[in-house]
Amino acid sequence: MIDFELEPQVLKQVEMYHMVAEQMMRPISREYDEKEHEHPRQFWDAMWTASQSLGPAAREAKPSGKDDGSAPKLRNLYTCLSTEELCWGDAGLFLSIPNPGLGGAAVAAAGTPEQRERFLRRFREGQPKWGAMAITEPGCGSDSAAITTTAVREGDGWVLNGTKIFCTAGQMAAEGSEGFVVVWATVDRKAGRAGIKPFVVEHNTPGMTVARVENKLGIRASDTAMIVLENCRIPADHLLGKAEVKQEGGGFKDVMATFDATRPIVAAMAIGVGRAALDFVRDFLEQNQVPLRYGLSPRRLSTIERDFMEMEVQLKAARLLTWRAAWMLDVGMRNNLEASMAKAKAGRAVTLITQKAVELLGPVGYSRKQLVEKWMRDAKINDIFEGTQQINLLIIARRILDYSSKEMN
C-alpha cells in the first residue's frame, strides 16, 4: 500500500542524526570551510566512536537490498534519511567522516566474501579510517570507459600506472589512515569497458602518492585528491572479482551497480543542503513577519511567497523521487532509471534552491556571516559528482527510449 509515513522509531533515529548535525557539525561548519585542508579531528573521532558502537559502518552502501537478517528492512531509505540530516548539518564535514565510502561500496559490490571481510573489517575496529574510490582521470570523467590507468600482471602481483583525480577522501584513505583506495584500471585497453577492473591499493603502498589536494568552490572540509600511481605493485588478490576480461560481473557493470546504490544517497545529500537553506529562509521570513499563505490562489501570493513555496515543493519532489529510488533497492527492484531521476532532479533542484535563497536574502544571503552562501557553494557539487546531471539525463533517456548506450550516446 502506498504510504509515506515513517515509523516512530525511525523518526527517533532521524532526530538523533539531526542533533548530531545541529550540535556537532553546525558549530564548526564555517571554520572548516574557511580553513580548507585542515582536519576536524575531534569531530572525526566522535563520529568514528559513534559508528563503532552502532556496529557495521552505517554509511556502507550496498548494491542490493537483500536482507541479511540484521539490517533494517528499508536500509537504503534509512541511509537517505540520516544522510539528509547530516548534510543539513554540513555536507563537507559529512563527506569527511571516516568511513568505507565509495571504496567500501565497490568492495561490497565487486569483491568476494573473503575480500569483503579482509578489506572491510578495519572499519569495525581501531583508529578512524577512510576508504576512497579512484575512477576519474584528467582525461576522462563521465566517460569512465575511457580509463587509461593500466594494471599489468607481473609475477605474483599487479603493477598499476596512471593518474587519478577528484578522489573524495583520497588523501585520508591513501596516506592519512590505515585505509585503502579502490583504483579502477584497465587490464586490456582493447577490451574497452570489459577490461576495466577494480583494484584495492592499501594505504602507503610504495608507488602511490597523493600529488595534490584540490581547492574547491564548496564542500571544503572534504579532501579531494589527485593520486598518482607509478609502478605501484599490489598483491594479486587485491583485484576485486576475477581477472578474466570476458565474464559476467567483476567489471564495469559493477561500477554501475555501485552507482545505482549511491545515487539516491547523493541525492539525499543534496536534499540536506537544500533543506538547510530552505529552513534558514523560512525562519528569516517568520522573523520578518512575511507570511506564507498556503492554500491561497497563487495569483494572490507575493513573489517572495511564490519563490519560497516553489523552492519548498521542488525540494519535496526531489525527496520523494529519492525515497522511491532507495525504497526500490530495498525491496529488490531494479532502480537504475529511478536512481538517475532522483539524482538529476535533486542535483539541479538544490542548486537552484540555494541560489534562490541567496537572492531572496539579499546582502544577508551573500554575507559570509551566515551559512547561506556556503550552502549555495556546497550544493553545486551535487549537480556534478557521482554522475553529472547530464549523464543522468542520458541514462534516463536510454531507459525511457529503450536505447542501448551504442544507439544513444
Binding site: 509515506f4 497563487p298 523521487l321 547530464q390 533517456a397
Partner: protein
C-alpha cells in the same frame, strides 16, 4: 512503513480503468474536442465502471466501496490519460455526491445519494470558480446571507460542469468573505431554483468536450436544509484538498499522454539519417518530462495518502496542485515542441493536451477523488 507500491486491489482498478481509457476514451478525445460533444453511450460505459456509484452506500443503491483518495488519484490519472474533458464529464456527478456522502446530514444523504445509486449516468455538478482574474477559493465573492429560515445567495460562478443537466448543483458561497476557507459553505441548489440563471454554454480554450456554464445567483433563496452539513456546515478545506488532489492527478495523466505520444514520435521521426530521439537535444527533453511526471505523481500520492489517513492535507494538496499545473504544462509544451510543426497541427493530439494542461493553473473544484 514507507511504500511506493499500490495495493493489489488498486492495481486491478488501475488496469481496468487504464484499458477503458485507451480503448474507449482516447479514440473519442479528438472528436469531442472538435464537436464539443461527448457521446452519451461512452459516458454510460464509464458509469458502468462504478466511478461514481461505487462509493455510494448500498442502502442508496451503490456498491458501498471504501472511498480512498489514493485510489481516486490513480483512477483520475488513468481517465485523464485517455482524455481530460471526458474524464471530467464522467466524474462530474461526484462533485455533488461525494461532499454529500462525506459531510451531508442524514436527510441530505437520503435525498441526494439515492439519485446516484442507479444503472444509468446521472448528471451532477458543483459551482466553485468565479469569473474574475483574482478568483481564490479562499476568498469567495459569492455571498450567502441568512434570512429567517432560508439563505439568500448572491454572486456569479463559471466553469460549472453539466449545469443544465444536473438536477441540483452544489454552490459554494460564504457568509463572510474575510473568513477564508473556514467561512465557506456549500448549498444544494436545485437547477430550477428562483434567482438562479444558467448562461449559454461556455467556450473555453481547452477541455472543449466538457459542457460548462456560467451561473448567476441573484437573490437566490434556498431553505436552511440546503446548507450542506446542516448546522455543522462543512470542512471546506478538506473538500478543496480532495479536489486539488483530483485535478493534480488528472494533470499527471494529461502529461503522461503527451509524453508517451512525443516519445513514440521521436523514435519514428528521422532527421539527418537517424531518429530524432537519438539526439540529446530531444532525448533530454523527454528525460525531463519523465522526471517531472513521476515527481508530480508522487506529490499527488503523498497528499492523497494524508487524506486517506484523515489528516489535514491543505498544504500538501496545494503543493501537488501548483506543481502539477506547472509540470503538466511544461510536459505538454515539450511534447508539441518535439513534434515541431506537426505538433501544431490538429491532426496530432499534442496541441489539444497543451490547451487542456493550461486548465490546471486556472480551474479549481471541477473534479474530486
Amino acid at each position: 512503513m514507507v511504500s511506493f507500491e499500490p495495493s493489489d486491489e488498486q492495481k486491478m482498478i488501475r488496469d481496468t480503468v487504464a484499458a477503458f481509457a485507451i480503448e474507449e476514451i482516447r479514440p473519442a478525445a479528438r472528436p469531442a474536442d472538435e464537436s464539443g460533444e461527448i457521446p452519451a453511450d461512452l459516458i454510460g460505459k464509464a458509469w458502468e465502471l462504478g466511478l461514481v456509484r461505487g462509493a455510494i452506500p448500498e442502502t442508496y443503491g451503490g456498491y458501498g466501496d471504501t472511498r480512498s483518495a489514493v485510489t481516486g488519484a490513480i483512477v483520475a490519472e488513468e481517465l485523464a490519460f485517455g482524455d481530460l474533458a471526458i474524464a471530467l464529464h464522467a466524474l462530474a456527478p461526484r462533485l455533488l455526491a461525494y461532499p454529500v456522502l462525506e459531510m451531508g446530514t442524514a436527510e441530505q444523504r437520503e435525498s441526494i445519494l439515492k439519485r446516484f445509486g442507479t444503472d444509468n449516468f446521472v448528471a451532477g455538478g458543483a459551482a466553485l470558480v468565479e469569473p474574475r482574474f483574482d478568483f481564490d477559493p479562499s476568498a469567495l465573492a459569492t455571498v450567502a446571507r441568512r434570512d429567517g429560515a432560508s439563505y439568500v445567495i448572491d454572486g456569479a460562478k463559471c466553469v460549472v460542469p453539466l449545469a443544465t443537466k444536473a438536477e441540483a448543483i452544489l454552490v459554494y458561497a460564504t457568509a463572510n468573505p474575510y473568513a477564508g476557507q473556514a467561512g465557506v459553505d456549500g448549498f444544494i441548489v436545485a437547477r430550477e431554483a428562483p434567482g438562479l440563471t444558467i448562461s449559454e454554454r461556455e467556450k473555453n480554450m481547452g477541455i472543449k468536450g466538457l459542457e460548462t456554464y456560467e451561473l448567476t445567483l441573484k437573490d437566490c433563496r434556498v431553505g436552511a436544509e440546503a446548507r450542506l452539513g446542516g448546522g455543522n456546515g462543512i470542512n471546506f478545506t478538506r473538500l478543496l484538498s480532495e479536489s486539488r488532489v483530483a485535478m493534480a492527478a488528472m494533470a499527471t495523466g494529461v502529461a503522461r499522454a503527451a509524453f508517451e505520444y512525443a516519445r513514440t514520435y521521436a523514435k519514428e521521426r528521422k532527421a539527418f539519417g537517424a531518429p530524432i530521439a537519438t539526439k540529446q537535444a530531444v532525448a533530454f527533453m523527454l528525460a525531463e518530462m519523465a522526471i517531472e511526471i513521476d515527481a508530480t505523481r508522487l506529490l499527488v500520492w503523498e497528499a492523497a495518502s494524508r487524506l486517506d489517513k484523515g489528516e489535514d492535507a491543505l498544504k500538501e494538496s496545494y503543493q501537488a496542485r501548483n506543481y502539477a499545473a506547472q509540470s503538466s504544462l511544461m510536459v505538454a509544451d515539450n511534447a508539441v515542441q518535439v513534434l515541431g510543426g506537426h505538433g501544431y497541427i490538429r491532426e496530432h493530439p499534442v496541441e489539444m493536451w497543451l490547451r487542456n494542461a493550461r486548465a490546471f493553473a486556472v480551474l479549481d473544484g471541477i473534479a474530486t477523488v
